[in-house]
C-alpha cells in the first residue's frame, strides 16, 4: 500500500459516493420545479402535495450531496498537490467559478425554498426551486468543463521555466466539444435517474393502491420527462463516443478491448478480455466493420489497437470494458422500459407487472451512471491529464500514516452517512405523502 494507491482509492471511493447523490439532486430538482409550476398554474392541490412529498426526499439527498462535494475540492490539495500546483492556473479557476456563479445560488435558494413556504408568494416560491435546479445544472457544467480539460486538455501551454501548465485561451477551454457533449450526456443521465426514482416509488404506492391519484400523476410527469432524457442520454452517449474515438484513442481501445490496429474493425457482441496475453477469449457474434462504424460513423475508419500503445500507457482493460458494456446495455434497457411505459401510459394502474419492474429498476440508473464514470476516469489512466501528466506524478508528498487514517475515516463516516440517508429516504418514501410533519 503506497500513498498513490491509497490516494486513488480514497478519491475513487469519495467521488463514487458523492455521485450516488448528485444525479438525483440534479434531476429531482427539475421534476419538483415542474410539479410546483403545475401547482401554481392550475391551483391543483395534488401538485402541491407532490411537491412537498418529493421535496422531503430531495432535501435529505441534497444534504449528503453537498457535504460529500466539499471532500473532492479538498482532496485536490491534500492528496493531489503536485497536480494542483501544475494545472491550478486552468483547473483551479474553473472550480472557483463554479462556487461563485453556481454553488452559492444553489445553497442559498434551497434554504429559501425550504423555509419560505409562508413568507413568499407561490410564484416567488416556485421560482426559488427553479433557481436551485438551474444552479445545480450550472454547477455540473463548470465541474464537467474542468473534467473535460483533464480528458482533452486545450487552450494552454506548458511554461518550461516554471514547469506549470498555463492558460492561453479561456474560451477554448470552456467551449470545447468534449466538454459540451459530456455535460449534456451527464445531465440527461441524471434526469433519467431521477425519473426512475420517482417512477419506482410511485409504482410502489400504485401497486398498493394508495394515494393513486397523486402517484399516478407523479409517475406520468416522470415518465414523459424520463422518456425524453433516456433517449437524449443515448444520443449524447453516441456523440461522446465519437469524441473519445477522435481524442482519446487509448480509451476507445480499452473500452472495446481492441488489440490490433485495423480498418473495418469489427464489433464483437460478447467476449472475455485476456489482458495478460493481449487477446480476447470466447468471441461470439461478430459484426463486420461494426466498431469502425460505431466509433467513427464510417465503416472504413481505422481503429488503433492497444498493442500500439506502450504497456505503461494503456488503461486497465477489463474494468473499462465491463463498465462500458454495463453502461450501454443499461442505457438501452432504460429506453425500452420508458417506451413500454409510454405505451401503457393510460392503463398504468392495471399493469402491475410493469409497475413491479419499475420499482425494482430504481437502482439500475445509479449503476449505469457509476459505470459511466468508471469508463471516463479509469479509461483515462494512466494519465490524470491525458497525455500531459501521469496520475503517479500528481500525488502529494505525504505519508501513508496520513492517508490510511483518512481513507478509513471516509469509509466509516460515509458508510454511516449513506446508511442513515437511505434509511430516512426509504422510510419517508414508504410512508407516503400525508403525515409529513415532523414537528414535535
Amino acid at each position: 500500500m503506497d500513498v498513490l494507491l491509497l490516494s486513488r482509492l480514497q478519491f475513487a471511493a469519495t467521488t463514487m459516493f458523492h455521485f450516488l447523490f448528485v444525479p438525483l439532486t440534479l434531476g429531482l430538482s427539475v421534476l419538483i420545479a415542474i410539479m410546483e409550476t403545475l401547482y401554481v398554474r392550475t391551483g391543483d392541490e395534488d401538485y402541491l402535495r407532490m411537491t412537498k412529498f418529493w421535496g422531503k426526499l430531495f432535501l435529505i439527498n441534497f444534504a449528503v450531496g453537498v457535504v460529500t462535494g466539499i471532500t473532492l475540492e479538498f482532496q485536490f490539495g491534500t492528496n493531489w498537490s503536485r497536480y494542483s500546483g501544475y494545472v491550478g492556473d486552468i483547473f483551479g479557476s474553473l472550480l472557483a467559478i463554479e462556487a461563485t456563479v453556481a454553488f452559492f445560488l444553489e445553497s442559498t435558494f434551497i434554504a429559501v425554498w425550504h423555509f419560505g413556504w409562508k413568507k413568499l408568494s407561490p410564484k416567488v416560491h416556485c421560482l426559488s426551486i427553479w433557481l436551485v435546479a438551474f444552479a445545480g445544472s450550472l454547477s455540473s457544467l463548470w465541474i464537467l468543463i474542468a473534467n473535460a480539460w483533464m480528458q482533452y486538455p486545450t487552450g494552454y501551454t506548458i511554461n518550461e521555466a516554471t514547469g506549470r501548465a498555463e492558460l492561453t485561451d479561456f474560451m477554448a477551454v470552456v467551449t470545447q466539444p468534449f466538454a459540451s457533449i459530456q455535460i449534456l450526456h451527464t445531465l440527461a443521465s441524471a434526469y433519467t435517474l431521477a425519473a426512475f426514482f420517482v417512477m419506482g416509488i410511485s409504482a410502489y404506492h400504485l401497486l398498493r393502491k394508495q394515494h393513486t391519484r397523486l402517484f399516478g400523476k407523479s409517475f406520468r410527469v416522470a415518465l414523459y420527462f424520463g422518456l425524453i432524457f433516456a433517449i437524449g442520454t443515448a444520443l449524447m452517449g453516441d456523440m461522446s463516443g465519437l469524441q473519445v474515438a477522435a481524442k482519446q484513442p487509448s480509451k476507445l481501445a480499452a473500452l472495446e478491448a481492441h488489440w490490433e490496429t485495423e480498418t473495418h474493425a469489427p464489433f464483437v457482441l460478447f467476449f472475455i478480455p485476456d489482458e495478460k496475453h493481449e487477446r480476447n477469449l470466447y468471441e461470439f457474434g461478430t459484426i463486420p466493420s461494426g466498431l469502425s462504424l460505431i466509433a467513427f460513423h464510417s465503416p472504413a475508419a481505422e481503429v488503433v489497437g492497444l498493442k500500439d500503445f506502450p504497456p505503461d500507457e494503456r488503461p486497465p482493460v477489463t474494468v473499462t470494458f465491463v463498465a462500458f458494456r454495463a453502461m450501454v446495455g443499461l442505457g438501452f434497457l432504460f429506453i425500452l422500459l420508458m417506451g413500454i411505459g409510454w405505451l401503457l401510459r393510460n392503463k398504468l394502474e392495471d399493469s402491475p407487472w410493469y409497475l413491479r419492474i419499475m420499482l425494482l429498476a430504481i437502482p439500475l440508473p445509479y449503476l449505469a451512471i457509476e459505470a459511466g464514470w468508471v469508463v471516463t476516469e479509469v479509461g483515462r489512466q494512466p494519465w490524470i491529464v491525458y497525455k500531459v501528466m501521469k496520475t503517479s506524478a500528481a500525488v502529494s508528498p505525504i505519508a501513508v500514516s496520513q492517508v490510511l487514517p483518512s481513507l478509513l475515516g471516509f469509509v466509516l463516516v460515509y458508510s454511516l452517512l449513506g446508511f442513515v440517508a437511505y434509511y430516512l429516504m426509504f422510510q419517508f418514501a414508504r410512508k407516503g405523502p400525508e403525515p409529513l410533519k415532523t414537528g414535535e
Binding site: 494542483s84 461563485t100 423555509f115
Partner: protein, 341 residues
C-alpha cells in the same frame, strides 16, 4: 504585481467573510448543549441557523476555490502540509451538516442526542482547528523548497497555534451567543444575552494575550511598523470589540452582532495584512516561503477571475442579504410547528 496584490486582498476578505458568517453557526453549535435545556429550545436553535448555514459554508468553498485558482502553489502546499488537520476539519463539517439536517427527521430522544453531539463537535473542531491552522501560518510552517512539510499534526499544536485556535473559538462563541439572542425569545433569549456578556470578558482576555504573543511569535507587526496607517485595521478590531459589549449592555442585539461581525472581519484582516506578501511562510528558510507573487496564477487567469468576481460576488452578496432580511424574525412556535427542524 498589482493583480497579485488585489487577489491577495480578495483572498483575505473571503476568509474574513467566511469566519464572520459561519462563525455564528459554529458559536450556536458550541453553545447549544449549555444553553438549550429542552428539545423545543434546541429545535429553536437549529432553526436559528437553519436557513443560513449552507449558504455560509459556500464562502469556505469559495475561499478554498479562490486559493486554488489564484494561488495554486499555495493551495497545493497548504492542503498537503496541513493534511491531517484539514481532514479533521472536513469530517467535522460533514458531521455538522448532516446533524442539522438529520436530527429532526426522527422523534426519538436517543436519535436526537446523537446528532446534538455531532452538532457540538462539528462546530467546535472546525472553529478550533481553523484557528490553529491560521496561527501556524502567521508563525511560519516547516516547509522546504519543494513544498514538503517537515512535521506532524502535533507540530501544529504549539502554544501560539493553540492560542489562535482559542481566539477563534471565543470570537465565534460571542458571535453565536448574540445571534441566538437575536433569534430567540423569553428565557432562552435572556440566557443567550448573559452568556454573550460573560463570554465577552474571556474573549477580551485572550485577545489581549494574543496581540501580545503575536509580537513575539510572529512577524505580523512588521508590516504595521513599516506602514502605520494600516494600524487602523487592528484599531477597528479593538473599537468593534468594545462596541460589542456596550451595545450588549443596551440589549441592542442586532447592532451588537454587527459590531461582532466587524470584530471578526478586522481580526482576520489584521492577520492577513500582517502576512503580506507571504501566503504561507516557511519557518525553515524565508526563501522557501510562498508569497502572493511566487505562488500566483498567470495574469490572464487572475484577470478572468477578477471579472468573474467583480460581477458575481456583488450578486451573491445581494441575494444572501435578501435571505437574511427574509428570515430575520425571531424563531416562533409557529416556525417549529411547520417542522423543518
Amino acid at each position: 504585481m498589482m493583480l497579485e496584490t488585489i487577489w491577495f486582498v480578495i483572498w483575505g476578505i473571503l476568509w474574513a467573510v467566511y469566519f464572520m458568517l459561519d462563525g455564528f453557526d459554529f458559536g450556536v453549535g458550541m453553545l447549544m448543549p449549555f444553553l438549550a435545556k429542552t428539545d423545543e429550545e434546541k429545535r429553536t436553535l437549529y432553526h436559528s441557523v437553519g436557513p443560513f448555514w449552507d449558504g455560509n459554508e459556500v464562502w469556505l468553498i469559495t475561499a478554498g476555490g479562490v486559493t486554488f485558482a489564484a494561488f495554486p502553489l499555495m493551495y497545493a502546499v497548504m492542503f498537503s502540509s496541513l493534511y491531517s488537520a484539514l481532514m479533521l476539519v472536513l469530517f467535522a463539517l460533514i458531521i455538522r451538516a448532516v446533524s442539522v439536517e438529520f436530527r429532526s427527521q426522527v422523534a426519538s430522544p436517543a436519535w436526537r442526542a446523537v446528532w446534538d453531539l455531532g452538532m457540538f463537535f462539528g462546530s467546535l473542531l472546525p472553529a478550533l482547528l481553523l484557528g490553529v491552522a491560521f496561527g501556524n501560518i502567521f508563525r511560519g510552517i516547516p516547509i522546504d523548497g519543494e513544498g514538503v512539510y517537515h512535521g506532524t499534526i502535533l507540530t501544529l499544536l504549539n502554544p501560539y497555534g493553540l492560542l489562535t485556535g482559542v481566539v477563534f473559538v471565543m470570537l465565534f462563541l460571542v458571535h453565536g451567543a448574540i445571534w441566538q439572542a437575536i433569534k430567540t425569545e423569553g428565557d432562552l433569549h435572556q440566557r443567550s444575552l448573559s452568556a454573550a456578556k460573560k463570554l465577552w470578558i474571556v474573549l477580551l482576555l485572550v485577545a489581549v494575550v494574543f496581540l501580545g504573543a503575536t509580537k513575539f511569535a510572529t512577524k505580523l507587526w512588521d508590516n504595521y511598523a513599516e506602514n502605520p496607517v494600516l494600524l487602523l485595521i487592528p484599531l477597528a478590531a479593538v473599537v468593534a470589540l468594545l462596541a460589542t459589549r456596550l451595545l450588549l449592555a443596551k440589549e441592542d442585539c442586532w447592532k451588537a452582532w454587527f459590531a461582532s461581525c466587524v470584530t471578526i472581519v478586522s481580526c482576520t484582516l489584521f492577520g492577513v495584512i500582517g502576512l503580506y506578501p507571504n501566503l504561507f511562510p516557511s519557518s525553515l528558510d524565508p526563501a522557501y516561503s510562498l508569497t502572493a507573487h511566487n505562488a500566483a496564477s498567470t495574469p490572464l487567469t487572475l484577470k478572468i477571475m477578477l471579472v468573474v468576481a467583480l460581477i458575481f460576488v456583488p450578486i451573491v452578496i445581494a441575494y444572501q442579504t435578501w435571505v437574511y432580511v427574509l428570515f430575520k424574525a425571531k424563531v416562533t412556535k409557529e416556525d417549529l410547528a411547520q417542522g423543518a427542524y
